[in-house]
Amino acid sequence: MRFADKAGMAWSSLLRRKLRTMLTVLGVMIGVASIVTMMGLAEGLNRQSLEMIEQFGGLRTIEVREGSGNAAGTTGGTADPTQYKLSDSTMQTILQMEHVESVYPTLEFKAIIQSGPYVLDIFGGQAMPLEVLKDMKWEFAEGGWPEEGDDLQFVFGNLVIEDFADARGNVIYWNTGKVVNVDMMKSKMFTILDTDAYEAAKSNNNQGASTDTAASSTDTRAAEAGADASGDTKAAAPPKKYTIPTAGVLAGELDDYNEYSWYTYCDMDALIKTYKKAFKGKAIPGQPVRKNGKPYNELFYSKLNVIVDEIENVADLQKEIGDMGYQTASNSEWIAQQREQSRSQQAMLGGIGAVSLLVAAIGIANTMMMSIYERTKEIGVMKVIGCGLKDIQQLFLIEAGMIGFAGGLTGLALSLLVCFIINRVTGSTTAVIPYWMYGTSIVFAILVSMLAGFAPSRRAMSLSALEAIRSN
């Protein structure tokens, strides 16, 4: 018997009992919809958490810092002290590695900014190539990035303003919950680049002063007019102050947090130019020195940000770079943990949905059984006039498969609708049905239905033709 004929017969016997067929399909539809919707919810949650990781500094980024080397690296005896530092050649080496999309350097800098009575201690300021910064496509609340070749200008994250402290070092925002009265763009701000000298001057003054209040007043004076702090010792010369303009403040309210919020940025070239002027003949802050105290000719970066082509390759590449002797950090473990969590979440939610599909499967088995009892005579006649046993079994399996297909298709449509409504109501993408689930859910529904129809179909096949034609 041809497949098309069998399918046609199965179809017409389904049409004969429209209401019953519809109810059975409805069962499968609800079963499929509940599984797919639950999986969609799990997928949505997974994506949301991955987005969160993205905000915390990227899913495909490995942060490389200078290392202390490993056993293999130190056997050389006369080890180069700069071997595990991050130079341009390190950057080139990493760029040549497989799965590396791009690498960009960061030079971390320190600075003290004073504005009125407030002090902002910047450590871990991020100096990067200007084009890298511009590539971030961050939004500004005010201003924008400086232009190539401009003198040094700062760009502040939206939460940097919360870091302002009073002269004693108490951070205002954390103590009072109020933001200091400083306009990052317009207020007069003095910047001290030589933070070591600043610290030295401060501790020197503290030693010299008898009381706390005195210290603080001296401190303020020292800060406002460096030369005024005429200490007893010449060692702690007051640091020079600069007026460095603010190029912009990045967008965000005081409770918006993302990867740039707490950081101060500037163009690396501009910073180095300013440093070289300020620290003539000396090593600029943060750079290593030779044994004789002279600076190296090349520049060493604080960290390299390595962008990997695929999330899946992050962990392997991180290990590879780590084995070269550098310190590495990435979100890969977090991501792995997150994935594990979302997998179990998906399994749990999918399992809840699966219960209703199981109920639907029992419904199919019941419907098929009923149908066979009802059509015993008919099956008998078909056998008598020469319908093969396999064909009879397949007729019922196809019937079950058709119920599964209809239920799968409508169930998928229903779950798409439900997800759409959920997303509408929550106002975010809480539930996402990935495209692969479209096909899978329908195939799955067909398979489950055919499995449920298997036992009844066996029964139909093994019905005795003689018994069957006798029954009425």
């Binding site: 041809r2 049409l15 008919e378 319908c387 033709a465």
Partner: protein, 227 residues
């Protein structure tokens, strides 16, 4: 024309009813020749239907031989029996037993579809046979839209469409009124005498058996008379 199509040799069929053994057939032997219209006549419970089932390859005898066209029915498996029926046998049922969801053409073409014949070809053959039984106007009708006589004519067409070596009919007129009964019996006679088919009909009615060429009377599982 003297070729033997069906040959039954000492057929026994014993049913177990609890502890009791019932001999439905008790050593029946018979021959049916090609082109013959044979009636198996007996009262209810005489074993006539059981005999028909044996001869048609629907059931296997407990003992004895059934040879149809050279094939030993009693040795066949269930699968082989189905194939045998598909290739060699046509059936006419008392209650017509048409498939309710199919129209007349589809019902007649059904046995051909079991053989894997394409739709176009089998529809053409079904149409031809429906014309022969005089149902030109009812080709697209479903069984529920036809009278008993019309349904049985569809049943006859369905039996003939496979060009069977033998046709079996189990009380083919049992559900029909007298007038239609005679019409159907005339049609069966025509099928045998006009086309040279072999027909074995089971009936309890001696009068109806009169339409056959030969009658085999069965009482309590034994052949008592042939005339």
């Amino acid at each position: 024309m003297d070729e033997t199509v069906i040959s039954g040799r000492k057929i026994y069929k014993i049913f177990k009813l609890g502890e009791e053994r019932v001999r439905a057939l008790n050593g029946v032997s018979l021959d049916v020749k090609k082109g013959e219209f044979v009636a198996i006549v007996g009262t209810s419970g005489s074993g006539k239907s059981t005999l028909l089932n044996m001869l048609a390859g629907l059931d296997r005898p407990t003992k004895g031989e059934v040879i149809i066209g050279g094939n030993h029915i009693e040795k066949m498996s269930e699968d082989q029996l189905v194939r045998f029926r598909r290739e060699h046998v046509g059936f006419i049922f008392q209650a017509y037993d048409l498939l309710p969801q199919l129209d007349a053409i589809e019902n007649v073409a059904l046995p051909l579809s079991f053989r894997g014949m394409g739709k176009k070809e089998r529809t053409a053959q079904a149409v031809k046979l429906l014309k022969q039984v005089g149902l030109e106007k009812y080709m697209k009708h479903r069984p529920t839209e036809m009278s008993g006589g019309q349904q049985q004519r569809v049943g006859i067409a369905r039996a003939l469409v496979v060009k069977p070596e033998i046709i079996f009919a189990d009380e083919p007129t049992g559900n029909l009124d007298t007038k239609t009964t005679i019409e159907v019996l005339h049609m069966l006679q025509e099928v045998v005498h006009g086309k040279g088919n072999t027909l074995v009909m089971v009936t309890h009615d001696r009068h109806l058996a009169g339409y056959a060429d030969r009658r085999i009377h069965i009482v309590d599982g034994e052949v008592v008379l042939e005339d």
